[in-house]
Amino acid sequence: MNEMIYTVAFYIFAAITVAAAFGVVTKSNLVHSALLLALCFIGVSGLYVLLQADFLAAVQILIYNGAIAIVFVLGTMLTRRSQRHGTNDTEVNIPSRVVTLVSGLFVVVTLGVIATTPWHYSSSVIVEDTPSLLAQLILTDYMVVMEAGAVLLLAAMIGAIVLAKGVEE
């Protein structure tokens, strides 16, 4: 019974995610794309919950839906011109059949590799309390990487402000 609920939840979240991702690249209105992107992030966070990464599911909703999707919606509205349709068209100079073929080929090759690889599932016990272990790892083993990430974020934010505001000469 529990197994069945897990399976049904997986397929629901996978369908939401894939359908929303498909809508992001096919919708011709950029605002619809941005909102579908937020829905896609919610589906991905559902998949994280199924993978027992509850902290990352919360981070996904907080950062991706709270910050990145909002930035996209804002940016879309600030850079949109008067017309409402055709703001997110596909490129006409590139034959879209070629692009579709390349993407389809990528899926086929990847699925072939996934299906033929013998995966060695680990039988060790799954960590239930992920936030405390993650905090311990980040502040011990991955300390330098975390500091580098912090500096990167700071530099990116200052750079973004300077880029968007412009330098007075």
Binding site: T17, V24, V44, L47, Q60, T79, V92, L153
Partner: protein
């Protein structure tokens, strides 16, 4: 039974959709959104590997956190550049930004 293969399949499909968007979208904002889709597919892969292959050390989740950090920085800088380009050229179409074309 849902295993690693199912999650990898979903991630591969999302990555291919993002690839299609990057290659075919006209505006920079659409391309940036597609890059976000691809980063999310990578995150699903990382966490799925962490859950099924090495569940006791959580390395994949740590890497996913760093991916999210880099994605946030990338979106901030990318949107700032888009504002700048729109301010200067009054367009966000990638094909019209051909200043560096040789």
């Amino acid at each position: 039974m849902i295993g690693l293969v199912h999650f990898l399949t979903v991630a591969a499909i999302i990555f291919a959709i993002g690839l299609y968007g990057v290659l075919s979208k006209r505006t920079i904002v659409g391309i940036l959104m597609s890059i976000e889709l691809m980063l999310n597919a990578v995150n699903i892969n990382l966490i799925a590997f962490s859950r099924f292959i090495t569940p006791e050390v959580l390395t994949g989740q740590i890497f996913a956190i760093f991916t999210i950090t880099v994605a946030a920085a990338e979106v901030a800088v990318g949107m700032a550049m888009i504002f700048r380009v729109y301010y200067d050229r009054n367009t966000v179409h990638a094909a019209r930004l051909d200043e560096m074309r040789w």
